[in-house]
């Protein structure tokens, strides 16, 4: 098991190096990606651009620039400097990360809880009215774009522009440490919107997986041994059926920690997603680069965690 984890970690580092190299190259080959021009602004003269190129070390050979870039990232965690915010990318990301963590973790708890519950009930009561209604809703939620759903929810329930003024609306996010209750209430609508689509997908996934598992011989054996149906479903059925969900959960959380752009934009939550969105809008590539690396890191870490969890849940993985 230990060598398995070490192997996964080493692969993670290799992947990070590759992603870093790729973002470095993209940054320099994109038509708008010339750092000196971006720093100088759209109207700068060739003379000013040349001076900035010199200042930024862009006249050095590409391989030297690459070495300095990689050294900066891996030895000093130096992700560069934003052209528009006049601040270090590292500090900007650190500033935005708590909001994205709050949004993602809260939403993940909701969608896992809702998705698993609905999926299991639908599988156990297959073809019942409840099953059809649940899966119908799931299909509708999967089809609903997050952005659209966010606007609808705001127009219905936001305290400022909603028809029913229930929850704080867009722009109400406050940090957990400054106002815990305000933090919680400001995230209720974004959590629900972000969780809705995923909960629907997970519910369908769990349902399908559960139906398959509940037809297995060992489930019949468990029932024949006289175990309660609840124990059969939760202990023997769900434990096996949840494995595929765990796999995509790692990916989903990793991707969202890299930024839930649409939800953060609609609800005006200053997270990584909005930072990235603004950076793309302004061609502020150091930030794009930094957030891409962050997203890659989260996805890699989340996958490693999932692999370990998978090994725990499914003994076959451990033994292989």
């Amino acid at each position: 098991m230990t060598s398995y984890i070490v192997r996964r970690l080493l692969w993670g580092v290799v992947l990070l190096v590759l992603v870093s190299a790729l973002t470095f190259l993209l940054f320099r080959v994109l038509p708008t990606g010339e750092p000196a021009r971006l720093r100088a602004g759209r109207f700068a003269s060739p003379k000013v651009i040349a001076e900035i190129r010199n200042d930024l070390g862009l006249n050095k050979p590409l391989i030297v620039q690459f070495w300095l870039y990689m050294k900066g990232i891996f030895l000093h965690l130096n992700l560069g400097y934003s052209y528009y915010s006049s601040a270090s990318v590292r500090s900007l990301i650190a500033d935005r990360l708590p909001a994205t963590l709050s949004l993602t973790i809260g939403a993940a708890v909701i969608w896992l809880g809702a998705g698993i519950t609905v999926g299991v009930i639908s599988a156990v009561r297959r073809r019942s009215k409840l099953d059809r209604a649940s899966m119908g809703w799931a299909l509708a939620l999967i089809s609903a774009p997050e952005y659209w759903l966010g606007l609808i929810v705001l127009y219905l329930f936001a305290a400022d522009i909603g028809k029913l003024k229930v929850f704080p609306g867009a722009g109400s996010y406050v940090g957990l440490t400054s106002d815990p209750w305000g933090w919680f209430t400001s995230l209720i609508l974004p959590w629900l919107v972000l969780a809705a689509t995923n909960a629907a997908i997970y519910a369908r996934l769990i349902r399908g997986s559960m139906i398959e598992v509940m037809g297995e011989d060992y489930i019949r054996t468990a029932r024949a041994k006289g175990l309660s149906e609840r124990r059969v479903v939760l202990r023997h059925g769900l434990r096996s059926a949840i494995n595929p969900v765990m796999t995509i959960l790692g990916l989903d959380i990793g991707v969202l920690l890299g930024g839930a752009i649409l939800v953060e934009t609609v609800f005006d939550i200053p997270g990584i997603g909005r930072l990235n969105y603004d950076a793309i809008t302004h061609s502020d590539f150091p930030i794009v680069q930094g957030t891409v690396l962050l997203a890659a890191l989260f996805i890699i870490v989340a996958n490693i965690v999932v692999d370990i969890a998978y090994a725990y849940l499914d003994p076959r993985v451990r033994f292989s």
Partner: protein
């Protein structure tokens, strides 16, 4: 005259286009076909505000105005600021030598104590500095002419890289070798006087440029250590001279205190500001700027909320909502720039003036305007100077010049065919072998506009290859690079740095401004007669004479069909019902924090 000018309105439009791209897909409403469409003349009569008619005095003192902006600032440093959103804060916190009253496009003395004195040979400008203006904490001392000199000199510092220094200040003696320190073109004979020495008599354009934020005083002793960094960090440690300042700590640090990038900014009263030295009433106690969010949501929050304004590009759906239900909370500002189609005057079919006239005649400019939001926010463009620019009326006003290819804004195929025949195509359609390279920009409404232009070209018999790319790529890789030999750029546009014909026409149509890269004369217009007229007009001092000269050049450009006009822009701004917003006519109608108040 260099070719670099601020594209103020397009910079604001960038956000607008983005907002539409998001908003329309979500709401499925507010398409162009349902857009309200009052004529420009009827705006005031319909209860909508315009900057020209808003009261500048009588506001209630006190209170906090909350601003919901989708877009972040680009730069807080007055030496770097070059964006309408930046200017909202710059002109509330900084005092350039000259600036504007909200309802005017004519500069008045601000940091200057009176009008500038131009020498009889037009090569020397003398400005006296106002007494009693102090820097905000931690500097606190009175402003001197040396502070203004340093502010302008640092524009040449590569770490500051002021975007318009080379456009307007290169005629200052010694500016070519300037790197941020003193140079012979700027002298300060005493602490109250600053003198600009020019190598050629183009004093008027230099004087106009002294109303830009670069001339706002910067204390060298305080800023120099920040200016030594690449890029400068002065924007993170600002001091103010205006009625407001960014909230800061004891060292003047703004970053993380009064400005959280991408999140918020807070303007508070400058304790060292004295109303007796300023024409701004500064009614508000504080301005809280919230950055980010969706423009559709922001629109509703502002219109239905309290003590709120939006001060960047308003979503089309919000403009429509305001027009239908909250008309008194809507302001429309003219003179926000233009959109036109650049056609390659140098090579290919459009080197022939009659083909250009045929394209002009065939184009449905009404449809182009509808794609951009209808006549509430656009006027059909009929020539090249735009409203609020001196010379606009003399060049034809809204109605435009009396030429047959401009007569029918919906497009006139018969006149188009006439000009195609005159160009040597007897059938009235293009019969050549060339496939036109058309490069436009992606997003709504740019792509729709590009499609309209492309279809018009097809109707004239052209085969085209239409490419839609990101706006910045369109300018930096295609339309701004003559070697790419692009035939048609349907999505270009212009906003002037100040109200002067030169600022509108010279960069885009003077052949001397064609550059190998970063070229703003996208059509490569290079008519020796027009070039000479522009060179002459540049040297004219005096409002009316300059206006007439640039109006005459405008008429020449129309006669030459140097480009194909599309629409003049008007910018919408919205406020809550309890806000007495005052918009800046000179800054695309953005709300002026120093004049706006709460009811």
């Amino acid at each position: 005259m260099s070719a670099m000018m601020r594209r103020t309105a397009p910079a604001r439009r960038r956000g607008f286009a983005l907002a539409l791209a998001l908003g329309l897909s979500a709401c499925g409403s507010s398409g162009s076909s349902t857009s309200p469409s009052p004529s420009s003349e009827s705006i005031s009569a319909s209860g909508i505000q315009t900057p020209a008619t808003e009261a500048l005095s009588g506001g209630r003192r006190g209170g906090t105005l909350t601003v919901l902006n989708h877009e972040d600032f680009e730069h807080l440093d007055p030496g770097e600021a070059y964006f309408s959103v930046d200017y909202e804060a710059s002109y509330a916190t900084q005092r350039p030598l000259f600036s504007y009253e909200p309802n005017s496009v004519t500069p008045i003395p601000d940091m200057a104590s009176g009008p500038a004195v131009i020498s009889s040979d037009g090569k020397t400008i003398t400005v006296h500095i106002r007494h009693g203006v102090h820097f905000s904490p931690p500097v606190n001392r009175e402003v001197t002419s040396a502070d203004v000199a340093y502010a302008i000199e640092r524009g040449a510092n590569p770490n500051v890289a002021n975007p318009y220094f080379e456009a307007y200040f290169t005629s200052l003696e010694g500016s070519a070798k300037a790197r941020g320190g003193p140079f012979p073109g700027i002298t300060t004979p005493d602490s109250d006087t600053i003198v600009f020495h020019l190598t050629k008599p183009n004093a008027q354009i230099v004087l106009d440029a002294l109303a830009l934020p670069l001339s706002a005083p910067v204390p060298e002793a305080f800023a120099k250590k920040y200016d030594a960094k690449s890029p400068t960090e002065y924007g993170n440690y600002l001091v103010a001279t205006g009625p407001y300042m960014f909230k800061s700590n004891g060292e003047g640090k703004v970053l993380g205190i009064g400005y959280q990038p991408g999140k918020s900014a807070t303007l508070v009263r400058n304790p060292n500001w004295r109303s007796s030295t300023d024409f701004r009433p500064a009614y508000l106690d504080e301005i809280d700027i919230k950055i980010g969010g969706d423009t559709n949501v922001i629109g509703r929050q502002v219109l239905e909320g309290s003590e709120l304004v939006q001060n960047d590009a308003v979503a089309k759906s919000s403009v429509q909502l305001a027009y239908e239900h909250f008309r008194s909370q809507l302001q429309i500002s003219p003179g926000a720039g233009d959109h036109y189609i650049a056609v390659n005057n140098k090579r290919g079919p459009f080197a022939n003036v009659n083909v250009r006239k045929a394209f002009w005649a065939a184009l449905d400019r009404v449809a182009m305007g509808k794609a951009r939001g209808g006549s509430l926010v656009t006027d059909v463009m009929t020539h090249f100077l735009f409203p609020e620019i001196p010379g606009f009326e003399a060049a034809g006003g809204l109605a435009g010049p009396k030429v047959d290819y401009d007569e029918h804004p919906e497009g006139d195929p018969a006149i188009a065919e006439k000009y195609m025949r005159m160009a040597g195509y007897p059938s009235g359609k293009y019969t050549g072998a060339q496939t036109l390279e058309v490069v436009g920009s992606t997003g709504d409404p740019s792509s729709e506009v590009a499609e309209i232009a492309n279809n018009t070209l097809h109707s004239l018999g052209f085969k085209t290859k239409l490419s839609l790319v990101d706006t910045s790529v369109m300018y930096s890789k295609y339309c701004g690079v003559p070697a790419e030999q692009i035939d048609v750029c349907p999505n270009v546009g212009w906003g002037a740095d100040f109200a002067d014909g030169q600022a509108v026409l010279d960069p885009a149509f003077n052949g001397r401004n064609i550059l190998p890269t970063g070229n703003n004369n996208w059509g490569q217009v290079d008519d020796p007669t027009i070039n000479a007229a522009m060179d002459k007009a540049e040297l004219i001092i005096g409002t009316q004479a300059r206006a007439n000269a640039w109006a005459a050049i405008d008429r020449e450009l129309v006669a030459d069909a140097a480009a194909i006009p599309s629409d003049w822009d008007k910018e919408a701004a919205i406020e809550s019902k309890d806000v007495a917003g005052v918009g800046d006519l000179w800054n695309t109608g953005t709300w002026d924090y120093s004049f706006s108040s709460l009811k």
